[in-house]
């Protein structure tokens, strides 16, 4: 195509258009729901279409290596800031995940959200735009903008539709991430000035900034600021303390998006920006990342074991699972990195499903305490089946998706850092313990309280079935995802 079709911009801003349209028909809840569904499905279809027809074939003119789709426009000339979007295999996988989980989140909230419905869906869609922007931008200023824009809708989602200490959690979430991001902004500007002074051309473009010769000491500081911002989102131990609160108090779809998508932005940004910009400093920080990852895996599992609240339990399990992603990134070998990518997708799908399940139970009984339940298998076989299924997936049972990611990460890490891999393995054992406890406490055993539960509705069943199919598919046939991330990872690691 000579005249470029701005497919990436459309991908990014389609949800925002949906959000604005929902604002326009402010009065009707039903219309808002429908519009949100239509736009999220359209976004998913569009991303799949982009994946099938555009991605493999085209190679935009002037695109940096690996970026099959690319858009570049001047934006703020005074600072050399450009509107640059690019998509390689890693971005594509993340975009597909975002669009998929976005649609899931809309369906999950269908009946649960009863107040201020239009505003809710508008914020949900607006957040998708922020997340997609993070996964696609190649200009650090633009990236920073999207990075911050994600915060606001999530802040409102937790604060308005959340439960419990929703305001405390919303503010904590916002301030935590905001502080980290602002320090990263200082680092971005410093890097920009350094690069400009060296090369004479002032630019925020990633492709140019990677060529900056950063003095070692300065690089450590700058990388530390980047790592802080990313580690908070990740979240890496000990910066995870906002996460259990935010997850627990968020509405169900909020938890799904937080776990499945927002956490991934931290990991993605570390791979896309952190390592390529500061290879030396990243290398110097690797032991820290290993330690944090290994400790986080066990710590998250350990604390999850002690939780009485199912949502909190799943939240801590996220800390544990994201530790594997961190481990894979720390190892920085092709196998470990592709494992980390797999783990990101898998954790997104599986944990999203678990949060959805907990939300469904919560809708029925208004309780998330494990002690409330027990022996529900007889009453709600379908719900219980999916509960067991996703718990097994989360625990890393072979044949289901999480196993693939964790296995690849461990294999990749073992070659580079056997001690870290061994430590992480301990975490897998702990994962089994808390999963078994959850399954046993909720599904089996004797009834603690006489609950009148209804089984899954068609909407809920369909939703979970789709997620389960994805789980199985990725578990037995992860090839396509691995194939997509292979070339970008080869570029990143320099190993072919």
């Amino acid at each position: 195509m000579s005249l470029e079709f701005p497919i990436l911009s459309l991908l990014t801003f389609l949800p925002l258009c949906g959000a604005l349209l929902i604002f326009a028909c402010w009065r009707s809840d039903a219309a808002a729901r429908t519009l949100a569904l239509v736009f999220s499905l359209a976004e998913f279809a569009f991303s799949a279409w982009a994946c099938l027809y555009y991605y493999p074939a085209t190679r935009a003119l002037g695109a940096p290596p690996g970026m099959n789709l690319f858009e570049d426009l001047p934006w703020i000339g005074r600072f050399g800031i450009r509107y640059t979007l690019g998509m390689d295999g890693i971005s594509l996988v993340m975009v597909l995940l975002t669009a998929f989980i976005g649609a899931i989140a809309v369906v999950v909230s269908w009946n649960g959200i009863k107040e201020r419905v239009p505003l809710y869906y508008a914020l949900l869609l607006a957040m998708l735009t922020g997340i997609l922007g993070v996964f696609l931008s190649l200009d650090l200023f633009l990236f920073y903008l999207f990075w911050e824009v994600m915060l606001i809708p999530m802040f409102f989602l937790i604060g308005i539709w959340g439960h419990g200490r929703r305001i405390y959690s919303a503010v904590k979430f916002f301030l935590y991430t905001f502080l980290g991001s602002l320090l990263m902004l200082v680092a971005i500007i410093s890097l920009y000035l350094l690069h400009g002074a060296q090369s004479g051309s002032y630019s925020f473009a990633l492709t140019q900034l990677v060529h900056t010769a950063v003095p070692y000491g300065v690089g450590l500081w700058l990388y530390a600021a980047f790592l802080l911002a990313f580690a908070i989102k990740f979240p890496l131990f000990p910066l995870h303390t906002w996460l259990p609160d935010a997850h627990t108090d968020a509405p169900t779809a909020g938890s799904v998006i937080l776990a499945s998508l927002l956490l991934k932005t931290g990991a993605y940004a570390l791979v896309r920006f952190g390592y390529p910009l500061f290879p030396e400093a990243a290398h110097a920080f690797t032991p820290l990342l290993y330690a944090s990852a290994v400790f986080g895996i066990s710590y998250g599992a350990w604390v999850a074991f002690a939780q009485e609240d199912m949502k909190r339990l799943v939240a801590y399990s996220s800390v544990s699972h994201m530790g594997f992603v961190a481990l894979g990134i720390a190892a920085w070998s092709p196998v470990a990195l592709s494992g980390a990518m797999m783990q990101m997708v898998n954790h997104g799908v599986t944990t999203g499903a678990l949060f959805a399940l907990v939300g469904m139970l919560d809708e029925r009984t208004h309780s998330r305490e494990i002690a409330t339940y027990g022996g529900i298998w007889g009453k709600t076989p379908a719900l219980s089946f999916f509960f067991l299924f996703f718990c097994m997936a989360s625990a890393g049972v072979p044949g289901l998706n999480n196993f693939v990611g964790e296995f690849l990460v461990l294999v990749g890490t073992f070659k580079v850092a056997p001690a870290a891999a061994a430590g992480a393995f301990l975490g897998i054992v702990l994962t089994l313990i808390y999963t078994v406890r959850l399954v046993q406490g909720v599904l089996f055993g004797k009834e603690n309280k006489p609950l009148s539960l209804r089984d899954l509705s068609l909407r809920e069943g369909g939703l979970l079935a789709v997620l389960a199919v994805v789980d199985v598919y990725l578990g037995v046939h992860p090839g396509p995802v691995l194939e997509l991330v292979k070339a970008p990872i080869a570029l990143l690691t320099g190993v072919r």
Partner: protein, 464 residues
């Protein structure tokens, strides 16, 4: 004075003549017409420069349309117009009567338009003090309320001291340099000791006007007591012109090595103390007063780099801050009944009960916190960029950490607006005029946030 000169100075003429016209016709007309005339006059004055585009450089002795004036006059007129639009409904509810209110706003606008045109230290001083003088009246114009009078007295006493300091400082600079002309170059001439002493006094005086710590103590009381639209104008127009005056003086006689330490301390203290004190406030106007102190600290941070980038950042931030504060105080004014909603907790649930006003207030808070994609982010970015480029890394990091902390108190307002249930009935509907003014301010915040390039170009032109 040729026609071209008159053309180029037309905004000043319009503002001045309209002020007199409003005063003369006030007794004969309905009050609404007086506000209408004033608003139209200030809008015309503001549109004159961009539409007629008079050549810079023409003027009369002492007054020339400088590039700086071409930037400042439209922004100040924009602020005055919005203030007038907010004031009409607010003053009607509070029973503040009389055509002297719009006339005084116009008079202060007249002085504000003169200030960037001044080519002479004395004219600069007169403009600066005329602005302060009109605000002495405006702050205490709410005669029925004690608070307003108290605020006016505090402002007058502190302002008189500041005026004396600036006057003496200018006198010392004159004594040291032997010239009053602002465009004379002083390189290497004059008595450096005396000029520096003069500079010291001027910096203290301007610090008062910008309410930089430790010259900030009047700010919370005045903001709390004065009518809210007046605060909107005071915190934008008056502060922006004071910053511009400092820029003009810096271009005239730049003894930067000596100025660095005082400005450094002013900036540091203002950013830290302003943001910390704002954390503790329960009254929204006092909170915004401390926030304003912190924001002026950011301005000082950009100023003290002494670079062209820093000066550009000051002007850009001044313009953006004008839009943000007009939106914030405008929404507060539009939400008030016979009394202001004083406490932050008085805003509970208003985001849903009054979507437009609540939404604009929330937007203004997020913009003040510097969250993209609002203009506030672009402004902060430019400030910290210029600080880092100017080598002020430590101060920039202190500033950015304090900015992160400041998000907490801005969020407090947003939390009240959207996350707390309302305890009372919905407030009366906003008048169309208020709604229009709020929409304009909100649009300015978003448009500049997404497409800042035109404004940046204008700012760079102004410093040429």
């Amino acid at each position: 004075m040729t026609l071209a000169d008159a053309y180029s100075l037309m905004p000043i003429i319009i503002a001045g003549c309209a002020a007199v016209l409003v005063l003369l016709t006030g007794p004969l007309l309905h009050l609404r017409s007086s506000y209408g005339i004033a608003a139209v006059a200030s809008l015309t004055a503001g549109l004159w420069v961009p539409l007629v585009a008079p050549a810079a450089g023409a003027g009369v002795p002492g007054l020339v349309l400088t590039p700086l004036a071409k930037l400042l006059i439209p922004i100040l007129c924009f602020a005055a117009t919005l203030t007038l639009l907010f004031s009409y409904g607010y003053n009607a509810r509070r029973d503040i009567k009389g055509e002297e209110y719009p006339a005084t706003i116009l008079f202060s606008l007249f002085a504000m338009c003169i200030l960037p045109c001044a080519t002479n230290l004395l004219i600069l001083f007169l403009a600066l003090e005329s602005i302060a003088f009109s605000f002495y009246i405006l702050v205490s114009i709410d005669l029925a309320r004690e608070q307003s009078g108290e605020a006016g007295l505090k402002y007058l006493l502190m302002g008189a001291v500041a005026a004396a300091l600036i006057a003496f400082g200018l006198a010392l600079i004159f004594a040291g340099s032997g010239t009053l002309a602002l465009h004379a170059t002083l390189a290497g001439t004059g008595n450096r000791v005396i000029i520096s002493a003069g500079w010291g006094l001027i910096v203290i005086g301007i610090a008062f006007k910008l309410s930089l710590v430790p010259a900030h103590l009047w700010t919370p009381d005045v903001y709390q007591g004065a009518p809210t639209p007046v605060v909107a104008f005071l915190s934008t127009g008056s502060k922006f012109t004071a910053a511009a005056a400092l820029l003009m003086l810096l271009a005239f006689a730049p003894p930067l090595p000596e100025l660095h330490l005082p400005l450094y301390m002013l900036s540091l203290l203002s950013m830290v103390i302003g943001n910390l004190a704002a954390l503790l406030q329960k009254n929204i106007k006092r909170m915004l007063a401390y926030s304003s102190i912190a924001h002026m600290g950011y301005l000082a941070l950009a100023l003290l780099t002494g670079s062209k980038d820093g000066y550009s950042a000051v002007l850009l931030y001044g313009a953006i801050y004008t839009a943000m504060n007009l939106a914030a105080f405008g929404a507060i004014a539009a939400l008030s009944a016979t009394e202001d909603r004083a406490l932050i907790s008085d805003y509970a649930g208003l985001g849903f009960q009054a979507p437009l006003r609540g939404g604009v207030l929330a937007l203004a808070m997020l913009a003040l916190a510097g969250v993209p994609p609002t203009a506030g982010f672009i402004g902060k970015f430019f400030i910290f960029y210029s600080a880092l480029k100017g080598g002020e890394t430590t101060l920039a990091i202190i500033g950015i950490v304090s900015a992160a902390a400041s998000a907490y108190f801005y969020l407090k307002v947003v939390v009240q607006l959207y996350m707390h249930p309302s305890e009372e009935n919905a407030p009366a509907a906003a008048t169309p005029v208020e709604a229009l003014a709020l929409c304009v301010a909100a649009l300015a915040i978003i448009i500049v946030g997404v497409f800042p390039t035109p404004l940046m170009d204008l700012v760079d032109l102004a410093l040429r």
